[in-house]
């Protein structure tokens, strides 16, 4: 064996603690080492050139780089080795920074000794390394997008426009997400539907977008480039292929259901189309409300439908789709009503949340856009807006800031003033977080030009007193307790992940944070990649964000998908598990142990089989196997023992 | 006899002297040709003294006029001036208080294109009033209707310091110095009225002014920079019972004193009063008083003018001992 050892100073990061010249001196005498050299920054261009030169001069067959974590530069050094003719899987990293010089800053002598041992262990490992070549896997150039809010739609359009097919799954009967419920949008106050409908109709008619509404993902198998997805399309009891969307059924239906789209502010027919611009513009029967299902009596819609589209017998349908990449765009929900008792949310009809206010202000909403309070339809003259409800509240809600409510509250207060010019809006806030282009100006406009009174402080309590809602608040700026008899109270409730987000994450085998927001691979450098290869995240599914940020992230998730699709084949690390069929007893312990479904049992031959491209090389199976039949390529038992010997021996 | 615009009756304390020729006399007594060509380009400007310079701050005016004369500047006192009002009115709905300064401006315009002031307050009020007359058509019409003029603010209100800097030049001033002040450590004090509001006055950098420093350097003094030079002295709050303005004033004096200032210069009689009187009690503790003088008084000394024009009167901290100790004043002088 001819191994070269390259010890990096990393400026003072390593060199300031570890005695690098001594390390080089000691290591150069270690068995199998042809040459040991050091350099100030091994990852720099001259550093890489040095490695190549030494490989050629010494005709090396393996290298050990003693530097930072393999997470940082393993790929760099592997490709340097490969370019100079050394098999990249015979390039090992000894992490003498994160695992040595940083934690042992105050004990340089010990650090030097440990660095030597870590390098010796790496030399022992490289001694047993096989020359491997990367696995190559095919890519299905078709994407699945879960959630058809503005995030999902944007990603779908971007991918479809680039020429690839998209399967867009939305659990509601229509697409558009929460944006469809908004009236006007900050910071420009343009009408939400007006900027949304061009997108929804484009998605609805795009030849490369397969739209599955009223549907949910049931299960997923496979791996990056090759996922198989099972989708359940829930029964709508209307045959959408026949339905023309004429709406006769909804006019005649005698049963009533609370409208989810209108956030319970009105009742709608049991068969209904959520809103006039809905895509697809087809009705759904709510089985919980429909007389036919609840009492077995009604059949009005079936009778009036001119095309015979009503189908009370319709069943859920299951589809299977093959895709190469997945974008999760499941968006958000609002903090549940029941959880803010002190504001009487869910008890007093005139205590509403932000989305309810959007509906009140929407021309297609329950009041045709007039601001009238839910209880008696009166135009409210004193309206209190309360920010940070459930947000920034470690004890009763969530510690995080919901990010968009400062802005939409300013928007609400302004829109209210536009409609009720003699009314007085009050906003209780803790801080105003308006860090976006034109955002601070938007908020200042509310105070300066539109007479919105901002009061710094949280509200303690809201209670009904006769006709009024009494608000107990404070203005910490003047140090005064404030009491307002309000006609209506609007709560900026916390943004929480869409219901079912954690369950979906489990199905996708990817991670969420403790609240259910999907975790990105790196908060700064890989913000749209999930922790699972081939799965990307966009919009509020990842964290609360406004429409501009959502669209940006959706575009960038689409770009990642397109980058994946641009490769002929994908490569996969060959350092995976292998089975010695002579030793394997077919007990199946390893199949259980594998977290990546990479193992199956060949029942005919009674041996375990590894699906190389699924195997992440974690080694769980090797540890579990009672027969020593499983070998981890380039981390064999003998390699591991000689590494241990090198350290403790 | 002029009337006090505040009370709309003859000035309540009789500040104005009938005998105004006494003062014109100073302008007339130009020294014999000092060479250096200043004479040739002799400058003449209408000049507004203001009430304080006719009463408690006579030394400010006499030293200024004498120095101006020595430098070849003739300041012609406006014939029929009125008190500027001493403080610029801050009410948007009331233009009445602008009447008196506007009248002054209108009559000055008839004499020339620039009006020179000495007192910071006069400068501030006249310049701000001028700004209103130039930019605010509504208020201009109201005021003009009242004073029966058609004045449009086309006059330049300047402070005497600006004349020294821009017309004479600090280099030329330095060459005219007869009695170099030998490194006298002098702290400039700008206060508020010269600097704010900066967009209207455009006098100097409002946060880091330097015209007084440049002036002091020309006289051969060592200008002592200190952070409180732009802080307020307390102004008319001095009239409130309880010695309220002396707190801020004491901060100003201390800031100059602890940085080595032997003397503080100002161009505002109220600043002079506040800073000086704030040392009344403190003199006992610190044992060191810092005299507060008008910049023109140092100027007159440096130009070697008669001590008669200095007019050091009624100081709590008398500048006499200091100025005598550095040989800037004779031993038997005033003060």
């Amino acid at each position: 064996m001819r191994t070269g050892v390259f010890v990096c100073w990393c400026g003072l990061n390593i060199g300031g603690v570890v005695d690098v010249p001594r390390v080089v001196e000691e290591i150069s005498h270690y068995p199998g080492v042809a040459r040991a050299v050091d350099y100030r920054y091994m990852c720099s261009d001259p550093g890489q050139q040095l490695i190549k030169d030494v490989i050629r001069e010494e005709r090396l067959d393996s290298v050990v780089i003693a530097a930072c974590s393999p997470g940082m530069h393993e790929a760099t050094f592997q490709s340097v080795a490969a370019s100079a003719g050394v098999n990249p899987y015979r390039c090992e990293i000894a992490n003498i920074r994160e695992q040595c010089s940083w934690p042992h800053q105050n004990e340089p002598g010990e650090a030097t000794r440990k660095a030597i041992e870590l390098i010796q262990a790496a030399i022992e490992k490289v001694r047993g390394d096989e020359a491997l070549s990367a696995l190559s896997i095919p890519v299905t150039r078709r994407a699945l997008i879960i959630g058809a809010g503005i995030a999902g739609m944007q990603a779908a359009l971007d991918i479809a426009e680039a020429g690839h097919e998209v399967v867009l799954v939305e659990r509601l009967p229509h697409i558009g997400g929460h944006m469809a419920q908004l009236s006007e949008t900050f910071p420009t106050l343009d009408c939400s539907q007006c900027i949304l409908t061009p997108k929804t109709s484009e998605v609805g008619r795009h030849p490369r977008i397969k739209l599955l509404t009223n549907s949910e993902v049931e299960s997923i198998s496979g791996y990056v480039g090759n996922f198989t997805v099972r989708i359940r399309r829930k029964a709508t009891y209307v045959n959408w292929d026949l339905c023309t969307g004429c709406g006769l059924c909804t006019e005649k239906c005698p049963s009533r259901a609370s409208s989810t789209f209108e956030r319970g502010l009105v009742k709608e027919p049991a068969i209904s189309i959520a809103f006039p611009q809905a895509v697809p513009h087809k009705p759904v029967i709510s089985a919980e409300a429909c007389g036919h299902f609840t009492k077995g009596k009604c059949g009005v819609c079936e009778k009036v439908c001119p095309v015979g589209a009503i189908d009370y017998q319709q069943q859920d349908a299951l589809f299977e789709e093959k895709v190469g990449a997945i974008v999760v765009a499941t968006g958000y929900d609002l903090h549940p009503k029941a959880k803010v008792g002190e504001y009487g949310y869910g008890v007093y009809p005139d205590v509403i949340d932000g989305l309810e206010f959007e509906r009140l202000n929407s021309a297609s909403g329950p009041t045709q856009g007039q601001i009238r309070r839910p209880s008696d339809g009166k135009v409210p003259k004193e309206v209190v807006f309360i920010q940070c409800v459930g947000s920034r509240d470690q004890e009763n809600g969530y510690p995080y800031c919901s990010k968009i409510c400062c802005m939409y509250t300013a928007k609400h207060a302004r829109l209210y003033k536009h409609k009720v010019s003699d009314g007085q809006p009050y906003v209780f806030y803790m801080d105003i977080r308006a860090g976006g282009k034109g955002y601070e100006e938007f908020v200042q406009h509310a105070t300066e030009e539109e007479g919105v009174l901002y009061l710094r402080g949280r509200v303690a309590r809201v209670f009904q007193d006769g006709d009024a809602l009494v608000v107990f608040g404070v203005d910490t700026l003047s140090g005064k307790k404030v009491e307002i008899r309000a006609d209506m109270v609007v709560l900026a409730t916390a943004i929480v992940p869409a219901s079912g987000a954690k369950e979906l994450a489990r199905v996708l085998k990817t991670a969420t944070d403790q609240y259910g927001f999907f975790s990105e691979a790196h908060p700064k450098l890989r913000p749209v990649e999930s922790l699972t290869r081939g799965i990307y995240i966009a919009g509020c599914a990842q964290a609360p964000k406004d429409i501009p940020d959502t669209v940006t992230q959706a575009g960038s998730a689409a770009a990642k998908v397109l980058a994946l699709f641009s490769a002929e084949r994908l490569s996969h690390s060959p350092a995976v598990a292998a089975v010695d069929e002579e030793l394997c007893s077919g007990c199946g312990v390893c199949v259980e142990a594998c977290a990546y479904d990479a193992r199956t049992l060949d029942t005919r031959r009674r041996v375990a089989v590894v699906n190389d491209v699924l195997c992440e090389g974690c080694g769980a199976c090797a540890v579990a196997c009672p027969n020593g039949a499983t070998r981890q390529k380039n981390a064999s038992r003998s390699q591991v023992f000689s590494m241990i010997d090198a350290v403790v021996g | 006899m002029n009337s006090c615009p505040e009370l709309l009756r003859p000035c309540w304390q009789g500040f104005f002297r009938a005998d105004e020729d006494e003062w014109r006399g100073v302008t007339a007594s130009l020294p014999p040709d000092g060479g250096q060509g200043l004479r040739e380009r002799r400058m003449r400007y209408p000049y507004f003294p203001g009430c304080t310079l006719r009463a408690k701050a006579r030394g400010f005016e006499s030293s200024a006029l004498a120095s101006a004369g020595a430098l070849g500047v003739q300041l012609d006192e406006l014939p029929n001036w009125q008190c500027c009002g001493a403080t610029f009115p801050l009410q948007a709905d009331n233009s009445f208080s602008l009447v008196s300064p506007a009248r002054t401006l209108a009559s000055a315009r008839k004499m020339g294109e620039r009006l020179v002031t000495l007192c910071s307050a006069c400068y501030n009020v006249l310049k701000r009033t001028n700004h209103v007359m130039r930019t605010d058509a509504d208020r201009r019409d109201k005021v003009n209707a009242f004073i029966e003029e058609d004045y449009r603010g086309d006059l330049e209100v300047v402070h005497f310091l600006e004349v020294l800097r821009d017309d004479i030049g600090f280099d030329a001033l330095a060459r005219s110095v007869k009695v170099p002040l030998g490194g006298l450590a002098a702290a400039p004090y700008y206060g508020c009225l010269l600097l704010r509001p900066a967009d209207e006055l455009a006098f100097d950098d409002p946060e880091a002014p330097h015209i007084l420093e440049d002036f002091l350097s020309a006289l051969g003094c060592r200008a002592v920079d200190h952070p409180y030079k732009i802080e307020c002295c307390g102004s008319y709050v001095a009239l409130e019972p309880g010695d309220l303005a002396s707190g801020p004033s004491r901060m100003v004096v201390e800031s100059a004193r602890t940085r080595g200032a032997q003397v503080i210069i100002t161009s505002c009689p109220l600043c002079q009063y506040n800073l000086d009187i704030s040392q009344q009690g403190a003199r006992g503790h610190s044992g060191v008083g810092v005299p507060v003088v008008y910049f023109t008084q140092l100027l007159a000394i440096a130009l070697g003018l008669s001590e008669d024009v200095l007019g050091f009167e009624g100081h709590v901290i008398s500048p006499g001992p200091l100025l005598r100790s550095i040989g800037a004043m004779g031993s038997e002088a005033t003060a």
Partner: protein, 132 residues
């Protein structure tokens, strides 16, 4: 403190706006004005707190503070205010709400003799302007 729309945007708030020419709603209570005011040592309310009371429509309470008489109109605050609020104008408008109906905050006859004797005329005229 009860807040209603009549208090917050009522007649007396409008009146103050007319006198001062200032829209105090622009103030976002950063406090920079108070941070630089030379007179705060003697004030009962800091300048930004006076503005706050005006924003809340509590004009009388603002006018009852000692602060409005201690403001020296030095403009240090307005020179640096990031929102272009002219506090000294607001202070003056508050004084004026009391002075115009006839209140005299200063009686020249009651000034101590040594003040009358020594204070420059400028101080007396300015004082009369601001306090009567």
């Amino acid at each position: 403190m009860r807040l209603t729309r009549d208090v917050v945007s009522g007649e007396n708030r409008r009146k103050l706006r007319d006198i001062s020419g200032e829209e105090v709603a622009s103030c976002y209570q950063c406090g920079k004005c108070s941070a630089g005011c030379a007179m705060t040592g003697m004030m009962d309310l800091l300048p930004h707190q006076v503005i706050r009371l005006v924003q809340l429509g509590h004009i009388e309470e603002a006018a009852a503070s000692r602060t409005i008489w201690l403001c020296a109109s030095c403009l240090a605050c307005s020179a640096r205010c990031p929102r272009g609020v002219s506090l000294p104008n607001v202070m003056e408008s508050l004084r004026v709400t009391l002075l115009r109906p006839g209140e005299r905050h200063l009686d020249p006859a009651g000034l101590p003799a040594e003040v009358l004797e020594n204070a420059p005329e400028q101080a007396l005229v300015a004082g009369l302007r601001k306090y009567t």
